[in-house]
């Protein structure tokens, strides 16, 4: 198996490693880097539990080769709280009871970060379509939608305050 040297930034830290060409990014993150917040719920990009940010865009890391991420800037669930302060989406999921078992939650939050970046003020329908690549089997989605709405409102307020 051919080995490749890859260098990428993960949650602000530079990482260099020798990896097999076939190593999936989700396994690199979970097994090689021991960051297990990114989960695996399928292997067909259907469930979204493995969603991370690559160069700011949400990507399902279970069907993404590690070598392809060479030079990328990656963010995972472990990297979104700033100096111990929750990201507005982390806070909102807690406030609105947007999680039960927690297994889909990291992917759902990473996807929602991208959603709110491209559409800071989404309607309920836009949120539902926006997270439709991420499956949750516990919550029935009502409270996930509410969580994204709360975060959108808080992020808009923060933005206003910083202007």
């Amino acid at each position: 198996m051919a080995k490749h040297k890859v260098t990428m930034t993960i949650n602000g830290k530079s990482v260099t490693a020798e990896v097999d060409s076939r190593l999936l990014l989700v396994h690199f993150i979970r097994e090689n880097l021991d960051m297990t917040g990114t989960h695996i719920g399928c292997d067909t990009s259907s469930c979204g539990a493995c969603t991370i940010l690559i160069d700011g865009k949400s990507v399902k890391s279970c069907t993404y080769l590690t070598v392809r991420a060479d030079g990328a800037d990656i963010t995972t669930i472990e990297g979104i709280a700033v100096e111990g302060t929750n990201h507005p989406l982390q806070k909102a999921f807690h406030d609105q009871h947007g999680l039960h078992c927690g297994f889909c939650t990291p992917g759902m939050i990473m996807r929602s970060i991208d959603l709110l970046k491209t559409n800071p003020n989404p309607t309920e329908k836009e949120i539902r379509w926006g997270i439709s690549g991420n499956l949750c089997r516990c919550t029935g989605y009502n409270n996930i939608v509410k969580s994204v709405q709360q975060a959108a409102a808080e992020m808009a307020k923060e933005k206003e305050a910083s202007v």
């Binding site: 190593l23 067909t44 259907s46 009871h97 889909c104 009502n142």
Partner: protein
């Protein structure tokens, strides 16, 4: 309404306090089975059968073993040397761990590859060469009993055909006579499809055997770790794995829904591999392995409901054919092969009922898990609720009115049902009225009449269900002889903080919060000061686990009673501290005080401290209590659900416009969590109603074994759920609570099906089996039009 006894800071019952367990999940620090990594850990991948029914001619391991990093290929022959190739099921059947000669369903385990790395294990699995001789599979359960059907289980002594068992409850003759004499009888064959729980975390295990200490440490995706430990000890005791040497830790679980109750062959193989090799072995299912190797439902129910011409129900009869796959591995209490199916008489008062069931073997995966349902309650409720609607349509009566006229009355509780249950409490009329008010039932009826006049298809569906949960009283309920109690153990530390441990295991239900709230209610110690611990068989008290909505009815009750034992001890300590007699001490949440002198008081924290530092002479020191709760009865949560749909005639597309769910689960511990559970269960209710069903072809191949074609609802398919509740406390539960989280999975499918059929009724369509998909609707419309 329920009035809170405690302040929000103490956070007893009725407070929507935020969940204590959230932080780790939100930060990616949850610890699930696949997150466990042990030194020297090996990985296991299973080779599975491509055929539904085949003889195994040979298994050639050579090429696999030649791969660098592949350490072993384990076959049925290997396990047979230790007599571990078969295991018993909970219902006295037997299941292969690994086959020695025949595979019985597609994707059955054939052998397992152990390697140093996950990827190498997959390489090894692909390199194993298995030769099969395929045979004609039995896929249709109705053909399983044909004379020319092959005998699927010749291994079972005395087995002459593919019939597994017959079960019946009620009075056949009287029910038949009542049906024969009735003005109106409606009949239907109703199928509940084979579905899968599809929790987002699949099943898995990390088994780690230490040859020096002879201890087997097992991290397991298990809703019932204690029971599984006992079963493992019974299955593998002969090779030296006795119960005190087995420690099962169920870490965080990514959704269970009943699918993480059984012992799967993969668990046993990994445990055996670790035992033989002496190193940790991890096995995590992939998604297709998960979807194809277990199931729920799959009942074909022939129903007859008899009534007077004005709609007074007189009798109900249901004869069921159950497709169990190649073995009966239903996860049911031992005396209940059909679970609580006899709740099928529903929320209505009538005299005669009879239910019978025949179970058969087919070449399908075994399972029969209680998927978010207290053992076959979903099947039972679907049968009666579809039939009640069918009766209403037949005699032209409003289905709500028909239900009001037949409901068990509030004053008739406890109610003895015709099939032998004692319903504890309910106010069905009030619950349905509330649902009708909330949705605006009368307005929708008007709108429907207008739309029908314009040729548009609009439907309103009702379901008023009664569940039976919280198994259960020891006189009736056991699993392999172990009575279905559950347990709580509380330790209050000298500083007044507490640790409580339970025999149950949360999979997302929020036990770390709700159990702390129960103790806050009973002791007045703030819920934030109470740690909850579950899932480790070395530390938690023995219990039967979390499924069938039993945590609150059993372990929740145990927590309340253990806390009351502590309060009794605390009273003696308070009397000692306040220098009065025990009779002069009174309790209000969080403190003891002297009768008539409330300024003379001691807090629960004062008393806890004194229990270690200044207790009365002769008293046993410490402040701990344990209770094993044997419930006197089950609890009977109920609800009224109403669904409004529109169907597009040209395409068969179904649009769920509104869905209102009113639930009555007795007193509520945390309204936020209860509502969240209802939301989730409703989406798991719309799933089989409109989207999910495992589909087999004639040769027994599963046609939708991935999440790309097995349609788990997304946020788009899931409607905005509207919820509410009524409260009729359980009279026998110490907190007046009932279970709740399964009601919506049980109640939603018939409400949705009834709404869709109601929409299609003007076209002459009187029944469709779920999942009711657009193509099924479109086909039915074409047939109906051709007839007209």
């Amino acid at each position: 309404m329920f009035k809170c006894k405690t302040s929000p800071e103490v956070g007893g019952m009725g407070h929507s306090v935020k969940r204590k367990e959230d932080a780790r999940f939100l930060h990616g620090k949850g610890k699930y089975t696949d997150d466990v990594k042990l030194p020297g850990m090996l990985h296991m991948v299973i080779v599975r059968s491509p055929y539904a029914y085949a003889k195994i001619l040979s298994i050639n391991k050579e090429k696999a073993l030649a791969i660098d990093g592949v350490l072993a290929v384990i076959t049925g022959e290997d396990l047979a040397q230790y007599n571990l190739h078969w295991m018993p099921t909970l219902l006295s059947d037997s299941q292969m761990v690994l086959p020695t000669d025949t595979v019985m369903h597609q994707s059955q385990e054939v052998c397992a590859v152990i390697a140093t790395d996950r990827y190498i294990a997959v390489d090894g699995a692909e390199a194993v060469d298995v030769q099969y001789e395929p045979m004609k599979a039995i896929v249709n359960p109705f053909k399983a009993l044909d004379e020319d059907a092959p005998l699927l289980r010749p291994d079972k002594e005395g087995q002459k055909d593919n019939h597994i068992y017959h079960w019946e409850r009620g009075e056949r003759e009287k029910t038949d006579a009542a049906i024969a004499a009735a003005d109106v009888v409606v009949k239907e064959r109703i199928h509940l499809p084979r579905i899968h729980v599809a929790s987002i975390e699949t099943c898995g295990v990390v088994a780690s055997y230490d040859k020096d200490t002879e201890k087997m440490l097992i991290y397991l995706t298990s809703q019932a770790p204690h029971a599984i430990r006992t079963i493992l000890a019974l299955v593998a005791g002969h090779v030296g794995l006795s119960e005190e040497k087995i420690r099962i830790i169920a870490p965080d679980i990514g959704g269970g829904f009943g699918g993480k109750v059984p012992v799967y062959p993969g668990y046993v193989i990994a445990i055996a591999a670790s035992f033989l090799i002496g190193k940790p072995v991890k096995w995590i299912e992939d998604r297709s392995e998960n979807l194809v190797n277990g199931f729920a439902r799959d009942y074909h129910m022939d129903c007859e409901l008899a009534a007077t011409k004005d709609g007074k129900i007189q009798a109900f009869k249901v004869s069921t054919l159950a497709d169990h796959g190649y073995t009966d591995s239903s996860a049911n209490p031992s005396k209940y092969p059909t679970g609580m199916f006899s709740i099928c008489t529903g929320s209505y008062d009538y005299e005669h009922a009879f239910a019978e069931l025949d179970a058969v073997y087919t070449n399908k995966a075994p399972g029969g898990v209680a998927y978010r349902c207290s053992f076959r309650v979903t099947e039972a409720v679907h049968a009666i609720e579809r039939m009640v609607d069918k009766l209403a349509a037949e005699i032209g009566k409003d289905p709500a009115q028909l239900r009001f006229e037949n409901f068990i009355k509030k004053e008739d509780f406890p109610y003895a049902s015709p099939l032998g249950w004692s319903y504890d409490s309910g106010d069905y009329k009030q619950t349905l009225e509330k649902a009708m008010d909330m949705i605006g039932y009368a307005d929708y009826k008007k709108e429907q009449a207008e739309k029908r006049a314009q040729g548009k298809l609009m439907g309103i569906g009702i379901c008023t269900f009664t569940e039976v949960v919280g198994a259960g009283p020891s006189k009736d309920f056991d699993i392999l002889g172990i009575k279905m109690f559950d347990s709580a153990e509380i330790r209050v530390h000298p500083t007044g903080k507490a640790l409580a441990r339970f025999g149950t295991k949360s999979q997302g239900q929020g036990h770390e919060t709700t159990y702390a709230q129960i103790l806050a209610e009973e002791l007045g110690i703030p819920y934030t000061d109470i740690e909850i611990d579950e899932g480790d068989t070395d530390t938690a008290p023995y219990g039967l686990g979390t499924y069938a909505s039993r945590s609150t009815p059993t372990a929740g009750a145990a927590a309340a009673i253990a806390a009351r034992k502590l309060r009794d001890k605390g009273k003696k300590i308070a009397a000692h501290l306040l220098e009065v007699s025990e009779e002069d001490i009174e309790w209000e949440v969080g403190k003891y005080f002297v009768k008539g002198a409330p300024e003379k008081s001691k807090t629960i924290q004062d008393v806890a401290f004194a229990a270690y530092t200044n207790f009365p002479e002769g008293m046993e020191p410490g402040f701990e209590a344990t209770h094993y709760y044997d419930p006197p009865n089950l609890t009977f949560p109920n609800g009224a659900y109403i669904c409004v749909v529109e169907v597009e005639e040209e395409t068969g597309a179904i649009d769920v416009k509104r869905f209102v769910a009113i639930d009555d689960c007795g007193n509520i511990i945390n309204p936020m969590i209860v509502e969240g559970q209802i939301h989730g269960g409703l989406t798991q209710g719309i799933a089989p109603a409109m989207y999910e069903g495992i589909v087999y072809d004639d040769e027994g191949n599963v046609l939708n074994g991935t999440l790309m074609d097995y349609l788990v609802p997304t946020a788009v398919e899931s409607p905005h759920w509207e919820t509410g509740h009524t409260i009729t406390p359980s009279p026998h539960h110490p907190l007046g609570a009932k279970g709740v989280a399964e009601s919506p999975t049980v109640g939603a499918p018939p409400a949705i099906a009834n709404a869709i059929i109601d929409a299609l009724y003007p076209l002459g369509i009187k029944h469709l089996d779920i999942p009711i998909t657009p193509d099924k609707v479109w086909d039915a419309i074409q047939v109906a039009k051709a007839k007209a």
